[in-house]
Structure formats: structure tokens, C-alpha cells
């Protein structure tokens, strides 16, 4: 098979780095070999030259342009990562550079003239991270998001709307009740939901505000049950300590009515639960002989 024909000529990672250093000098900052991937860190000034070398150097012969993408590098700005593959030697090389311009105006030279495939990849990276690629024919219009989209979605300071708009159902503690018999909900805090995202104070406030609005709407519609369930949330908003007593008095809606509604709903719920428990007990009783047999 032709693909494997030149496998024996494949350079080792060390040789590859040595060769690139020889050709590009200070352009090569360093390299890492971890998790079965060889990464060469390149200075932005040598970015295009490195790829031209990788493509044209007969010993390297990286002909397949695999991918190019951005990575959020926290306060240092953004990295651009590109992966090349050689169909003749079977080597894979990951090249990585740190964009100039920090988080405000990240800039990385365009590879469009070296590999055709870089065109869309760079457009996508610009669309997602706002990294400019001087030398690219046309980064605009935005390739994946809508044309008038604002913001750079894959930056870490861009929060996922669906995670902000809706409270996490998992914040409730199992069966912990306040004195009125309502389920205690906590204000979403750091590390509540799975994920690296931090429901920071601003987001928490936003989430609470949203729920307040919906509670107000429900109250206006006279939906008693909705008020009953939303009511503790309102109290949470004003009193961050969820275990604080007298949550009903803090409600912005008519406190007496809300407390009444809560009590009625709670009574109903208890009655239901009792009936259910009885049923479950009966079922368990039915089941026992079978289990023993």
C-alpha cells in the first residue's frame, strides 16, 4: 500500500524539532510531547514560515492540513493550534502559537496562502474567538453564527445563555424544609452545577431576577400554585441565607395570601403523599410473599 511506503523515513519528534530549529532559528520556542501528541510552540512571527517549511521540506512532507482552531489561554490571550499530518511518513505535528495583542486584539498571521484548507478554519476561529488573521481574503461575513451576532462565543467570558436563563433544578436539597414546609432552595453558588462555569454573583442575580419576574407574572395571573412554589425563591433573593426564618414576610406579593396559598398547596401535597405512601406500603406487602418464594 502506497501510504505506508515511506514509513521508515519518518522523523522522530526530536529530529523534527531539530530540523525546524535549524531552518527557523528563534521562531521555534519549544516543544512538548504529552498524551501521545507532539506539539511545537512557534512564535507568531515565524508562524507562516514554519508551515511553509513543513509543507515543502522533503523530510517533513506534511501534506494534509488537518485542522486549525483557537484555544482560550486565560489572561494571556488566545492560542492558535494547527495540526498537520503527512500521508507519506505518517507523522502528525501540532503547531501552537500565542496570538499577539492579548485578549483585546488577538492577531495571528493567516495560513491561507500555504494551505487552502486554512481559509474556512481561520474564518471559523475568527467567528468563535475574534482572532484576526491578517492576510486572509475575507474573514467576514461570520461563517457559523448569524451575521449580526455580537460577541465571541468560545471565549471563556462569553456565558452560555441557556445556563443563565434557567435555574438549575439540582440546587434543591433533598427534602429539606423550612418552617412553613416549603422545599428549601439555595441560591446557585460556585460549583453547584457540573461545569467549569462559575455562576458568579452577577449571573446569580440575573437568574434570581428572572425568577422574580416569572413569579410576578404568575401572581398577576392569580396562579396560586405557582406563587406557592415561587415564593421561597423570592425570599432567597432578599435573604441569601436560605435557612433564615419567616420567609413569607419577605415576599414582595401580598404576604398573607401567599402564605395561605402555600399552606393549602402544602396540605394537598401532604395528603397526596400520604395516600401514595399507603399505596406503596400495600404494594410492598403484596410483593413480600413473592420475594420470599
Amino acid at each position: 500500500m502506497s501510504v505506508l511506503a515511506r514509513r521508515d523515513r519518518a522523523l522522530t519528534p526530536e529530529e523534527t524539532e531539530a530540523l525546524l530549529r535549524d531552518r527557523l532559528g528563534d521562531g521555534i520556542i519549544g516543544s512538548t510531547l504529552a498524551h501521545r501528541m507532539f506539539t511545537v510552540h512557534v512564535a507568531p512571527s515565524a508562524w507562516v514560515d514554519t508551515f511553509t517549511r513543513c509543507r515543502d521540506e522533503p523530510l517533513l512532507d506534511f501534506d494534509l492540513f488537518d485542522t486549525l482552531h483557537g484555544v482560550d489561554a486565560r489572561e494571556d490571550g488566545f492560542d492558535v493550534v494547527a495540526i498537520l499530518y503527512s500521508t507519506s511518513t505518517g507523522n502528525r505535528l501540532c503547531l501552537r502559537t500565542r496570538c499577539e495583542g492579548g485578549r483585546d486584539t488577538p492577531v495571528c498571521p493567516s495560513l491561507n496562502d500555504v494551505y487552502r484548507g486554512a481559509n474556512w478554519m481561520e474564518r471559523e476561529t475568527w467567528d468563535m474567538f475574534g482572532i484576526e488573521f491578517p492576510g486572509h481574503p475575507a474573514l467576514e461575513p461570520r461563517i457559523l453564527t448569524v451575521e449580526n451576532f455580537e460577541g465571541w462565543p468560545l471565549r471563556k467570558d462569553f456565558h452560555l445563555a441557556s445556563r443563565v436563563a434557567k435555574p438549575w433544578p439540582g440546587v434543591k436539597e433533598p427534602a429539606e424544609l423550612d418552617e412553613d414546609g416549603n422545599v428549601i432552595e439555595r441560591v446557585p453558588g460556585i460549583g453547584d452545577a457540573p461545569g467549569p462555569y462559575v455562576l458568579d454573583e452577577a449571573m446569580a442575580a440575573q437568574a434570581i431576577a428572572l425568577r422574580q419576574v416569572s413569579a410576578a407574572i404568575d401572581a398577576a395571573a392569580g396562579n396560586e400554585a405557582a406563587v406557592a412554589s415561587a415564593e421561597p425563591t423570592v425570599s432567597d433573593a432578599t435573604m441569601p441565607e436560605a435557612s433564615a426564618p419567616a420567609s413569607g414576610t419577605a415576599a414582595s406579593t401580598d404576604p398573607a395570601a401567599a402564605a395561605d396559598a402555600a399552606r393549602t398547596a402544602d396540605e394537598q401535597r401532604r395528603a397526596q403523599a400520604e395516600a401514595r405512601a399507603r399505596k406503596a406500603a400495600e404494594r410492598a406487602a403484596d410483593e413480600t410473599p413473592e420475594e420470599q418464594a
Binding site: 433544578p169 439540582g170 414546609g181 405512601a277
Partner: protein, 227 residues
């Protein structure tokens, strides 16, 4: 491709299609005939509320945040005289919003007390999206449609629970001066684990059985080693 007489390709096309004229159509007449779905089919999530301990694991693991649980605490008087009364969690609300659910099955997988089950039922389309929010009663009804899990392949390892059960019963056997009844029970358990551990208990219909009557061993085949 070798050169052939022009037109043979065209004739072959006619031959292939006319060949199918006499064959039985493969169309499934869906509303008239029920589709034959595999027991593992992820159609709808059924809830056995009596198994739920309100641990909130499903709700927290759900990638779409579509499980809503409310509960309260209740004290249960002691079964024995003079014993201490215990408190337990009572489920007030358990709802799954199937308009958000992406049928990944993580909730079923993480439930430590087998309260959630997959059922192959799929006919619960609604004209209004609100109707897809299934509350506890509706989820409980689905539990009656949960089929028995299929037996595992012959090359499969016995599930961890079964292995544990065998080890335990062996221990019980080895424990000196075991009473006859206890030994009998342990022996029966070991026999069941050895012979039919991977399948549902015999004598019950293979499908459309309530999971309550599914044997423990068969149930455990669903979740071999993750826990």
C-alpha cells in the same frame, strides 16, 4: 470496469426493479401493526416512585436540566415497639420535561435505587408542548410497560452485583453451623446466580412485565460495573 455491450447496464436496472415486483413489500403498517421494538429501546422514562429516595442524582446529572423534583421529610413511627421513629424523604413531585430531554439515559444510569427505567413506548406526542411535561402519575403509568431486560451475550461477564451475591452466599454457606433454612436459601440464591443469573426469573412472561416482579439479578444486568 471492462467494456460491455452498450445497454446492458440499462437492462440490468430494469431486471433489478422487476425482480422486486414479486417480493413482499417491507413496509411496516405502523398504526395498524405495532413495531417490534427491542427491550432496550429508549422510548420513554418510567418512574417507580416507591423506589425514589429523593437523592437528586438524576436531576443533577441531567445534561438538559429537565428533571424537576420536590419532596419533604416525614417521620415514620417505629415498626417495633419502643424503637425510635425514623425520618424519610417523601417525593412530592417528579417531572420530566420530554420536550427538553435528549434521551441520553444518564438519569436511568445513575439512579442508585432503580427508580427510573427505560420503556420502549413512544406514542406520547402532543399538540401542545406543555403536554410533554410528564408529572409523577404519568411517569408511574409508564412503569407498567417496561419490558424485562434481555439476557446478556454468552461471552459477557456476570454483572458485578451477581458476582457479589455469589460471593456473599458462598460466605454464608461456609459460615459454620448454618441453619438448614439459611443454607437452603443461600444455595438457591447461588443456583439462581449460576444458572439463570443473567436472565429474568422463569415462569413470568418475557415481556410487558412490571419491573417490580423482575428478579434482582436480572435487574442488575442493566448496570454492570459503573458503580
Amino acid at each position: 470496469m471492462s467494456r460491455t455491450i452498450p445497454g446492458t447496464g440499462l437492462l440490468k436496472g430494469l431486471a433489478v426493479t422487476i425482480k422486486h415486483l414479486g417480493q413482499r413489500p417491507v413496509t411496516q403498517m405502523y398504526p395498524h401493526e405495532r413495531p417490534d421494538l427491542a427491550p432496550r429501546t429508549r422510548g420513554v422514562i418510567a418512574l417507580m416512585d416507591e423506589n425514589c429516595t429523593v437523592c437528586m442524582l438524576c436531576s443533577r446529572e441531567c445534561p438538559d436540566w429537565c428533571i424537576y423534583i420536590d419532596s419533604h421529610k416525614e417521620s415514620v413511627p417505629s415498626a417495633t415497639e419502643g424503637g425510635r421513629s425514623r425520618t424519610r424523604n417523601v417525593l412530592d413531585r417528579f417531572a420530566i420535561d420530554f420536550s427538553l430531554c435528549m434521551y441520553c439515559g444518564i438519569c436511568v444510569e445513575v439512579c442508585p435505587f432503580d427508580a427510573l427505567w427505560w420503556s420502549p413506548e413512544f406514542e406520547y406526542a402532543e399538540y401542545s408542548i406543555d403536554g410533554l411535561l410528564h408529572e409523577m402519575g404519568r411517569l408511574r403509568e409508564w412503569a407498567d410497560t417496561v419490558p424485562a431486560p434481555p439476557m446478556l451475550d454468552v461471552g459477557a461477564d456476570a454483572p458485578a452485583e451477581v458476582v457479589d451475591a455469589i460471593a456473599k452466599s458462598d460466605k454464608a454457606l461456609l459460615a459454620a453451623s448454618a441453619p438448614a433454612v439459611g443454607a437452603g436459601a443461600a444455595g438457591a440464591a447461588a443456583g439462581a446466580a449460576g444458572a439463570g443469573a443473567l436472565g429474568p426469573r422463569l415462569g413470568l412472561g418475557p415481556r410487558r412485565r412490571s419491573p417490580r416482579s423482575t428478579s434482582r439479578a436480572a435487574r442488575s444486568t442493566r448496570r454492570p460495573t459503573t458503580r
